[in-house]
Symmetry: C2
Subunit: 429 residues, 2 copies
């Protein structure tokens, strides 16, 4: 009797054709994080649902993949990293600051599955704890760009940055009655009908002339190196100097990288209530997909979870939208294969000799494989190709007797017979 149990809706089985390009995403994200001095942490996949009641708001709570465990406890598959990371950093009061942490693991949301959104996804989280500085903000922003550039996405994304303190002052100067709901409204600016948005601004307390000015500001996208000229405009006259100076400082840091796609964008405010300074989002240049990266400064959140006041800045980058964009621009490709050997042998009796040579090649860290099915010699040679090996080794009776190997470069077709010892010495270099 066959047990035909399908996978659960919203979950994904990934075969090698897709997992290998995905591995390039994972490895690039981790390698860049290490390159920036971030150290890895691992977090549980299951938390008390209560953890997300505190600050995350109803929307996230509704998306939690939650359940009752056998002991009747209200648990959930983790929907995001931040509350757990905040608890972890608050627990370890011994750690010298700054602390740079990254994690790379799965999260879950009980949402309706659609393109670029499964119920299960991987996410890189990277945060700097300790300093409340433009330098720390700059490092996390540059790390996000470096990962995307490392994946070959330069020119295919826009990095959009803003500052919540600046926005606070700006909203006050424009006469918004309630800043909290103003942020929620601005967060929808790009998705809303313009007339509808302007109506809502009116309801929020703006005069008709201010309303136009405000919408114009939200529509602008200022290259990061030109931020000073934006901030010197009339609309920003009432913003305190230290707020402007902090933003200029960050812009100088970001400009130093030479990255050409970083823009100041006043419409980027991030929905989440906990941001307290810099905020940023990354979108593909054609705006076909949801945001690829979201992040910012959150100086009050750790205190909420641990009692320890520790400023923090960081971001999250999910695999789903990133994969869509990489596919869209033809960069969803595996890592370039390194040198690898396929040993073909006409006589199955010789397999222990084949196995011995496989072990010796692999002892140098070099991929090597051979037939394990008793296939014909010609079928083995086809398999060498199918498996994507770069070199074919022929180990026939003649070669075994004379202590040699015949090696063929499968891309150039070059072929040579050398002594086994010389071959092994040559690959150990």
């Amino acid at each position: 009797m066959v047990v035909a149990i399908e996978k659960v809706r919203g979950f994904r089985e990934v075969y090698p054709e897709e997992s290998e390009p995905r591995k390039r995403i994972f490895e690039t994200a981790e390698k860049c994080s290490v390159m920036f001095g971030f150290r890895k942490i691992e977090m549980p996949s299951v938390e008390n649902l209560e953890l997300y009641r505190a600050k995350s708001g109803n929307e996230l709570l509704e998306q939690c993949f939650s359940f009752l465990d056998r002991g009747g406890r209200e648990l959930t598959l983790t929907p995001e990293a931040t509350p757990t990371v905040a608890r972890m950093i608050g627990t370890r009061k011994d750690l010298a600051k700054p602390v740079r942490w990254y994690s790379f693991q799965r999260f879950w949301r009980y949402e309706e599955p659609q393109s670029g959104r499964q119920r299960e996804f991987y996410q890189l989280n990277a945060d700097i704890f300790g300093p409340d500085s433009a330098e720390a903000d700059g490092e996390v922003a540059i790390l996000a760009c470096t990962i995307l550039n490392g994946l070959g996405l330069e020119g295919h994304y826009d990095f959009l940055i803003n500052d919540r303190i600046l926005m606070d002052h700006l909203l006050t100067s424009f006469g918004f009655k309630d800043r909290g709901s103003a942020f929620a409204l601005i967060d929808k600016f790009k998705k809303m009908d313009r007339a509808e948005f302007e109506n809502a601004l009116g309801e929020a307390g703006l005069t008709p002339s201010d309303l136009k000015k405000f919408v114009n500001l939200l529509e602008e996208r200022i290259p990061i190196e030109s931020i000073s000229s934006l901030l010197s405009r009339e609309e920003f006259q009432k913003i305190p100097n230290e707020v402007k100076e902090r933003i200029v400082k960050l812009s100088e840091i970001l400009t130093s990288t030479g990255f050409k796609n970083i823009f100041f964008d006043l419409s980027v405010v991030r929905g989440l209530a906990y941001y307290t300074g810099m905020v940023f989002e990354v979108f593909d240049t054609k705006r076909k997909f949801r945001s690829i990266v979201g992040g910012g400064r959150y100086d009050s959140l750790v205190e909420l979870y641990s009692g320890a006041r520790i400023p923090a800045t960081g971001f999250a980058m999910g695999d789903a939208t990133l994969e869509l964009l990489l596919r869209d621009v033809g960069k969803f490709t595996a890592l370039t294969p390194t040198k690898s050997y396929f040993i073909a042998f006409p006589n199955r009796e010789n397999y222990p000799k084949v196995s011995e040579l496989l072990t010796l090649i692999r002892s140098h860290g070099i991929p090597a494989m051979s037939d394990v099915s008793g296939k014909s010699f010609s079928a083995q040679i086809r398999d060498a190709d199918r498996e994507g090996c770069t070199h074919l080794i022929v180990l026939g009776d003649k070669e075994i007797e004379s202590g040699t190997v015949t090696i063929k470069n499968l891309s150039t077709g070059e072929q040579e017979t050398v002594s086994r010892i010389d071959f092994l010495n040559s690959i150990s270099l």
Copy 2:
């Protein structure tokens, strides 16, 4: 108000001191798998509980971290890889055999947490689908050893191997009434009191003289290269020749590696009902911990899940026992750090220049970091050490003006001032 929500019992928060040695485990396991020509797959973390009702038996079912989802479906966090992998290989009938797959991800069991057993763990799974051959069995066994040796565990573990078909014949020739319950009994041999075990053998149908002979066989541990002399003994006379030949063939393959710790052990049968040939387990030499690796051949299982009869052989290696053993033998260590730079700068105003240099160094794939907290110059130099960087770069006003950098090797103390261009050229090599 502080939200003090503890982590859930049986789940673990891993800080960098531990995650970095763990990363060495993960990377070694993946790198070796790739070196053997295995390709990665990813599996869902959530499955229908029904999937495990089919073959896993009540014990596993009881250990499932199961729950009802919002739609009232009986789901579970995945307790093991095999049923999912079997479904995946059965689905892809287009794939040319042999198929070598590995996966590396989290699994869950609702067991009582204890040393070396959490409710959440990572597991490497590696399988070859297609051939029913000693060569394929050899490859998965050698892969398991290669990973352990790659972690520095040579001499600290025993690889114990056996064959279920051989055991079937042996049990018949010894007159066991019920082979299924005999396997379950033998599986407990190492854990049971000897008198109690012999009693149970008597109840299973063995005569007093056969009983002693059988226990003696279970107590032996034969180096794999001596298997022929074992199989030529009187007790194995009734075993069909093709069964013995297959085992001798596997032993020749394993002997070819030169690994010294592979033993044939008739007490290793693996509890799971689905094994149909080779079985193996790995234990630490001092037998302090639970098994580190378990595997074997399972030729009928894929058919059960997919209707396609596809022979298979493979193993699972968990992180928990492996971590305990690595700690026990002093090998729970991080990867050797590569060259990394810490830029110290006395004048905070110069940070954009620091950031620019960081970007240039990192563009060569080399780790680099600097202060982001406005710390004093001497505190920065202490941080370079604390962060484990190998080289310190001093970027003072003088260096910036003259286009130079002063570089200090933090292990040798050597220091030199060179032009920025020469420095960047030298690291790009």
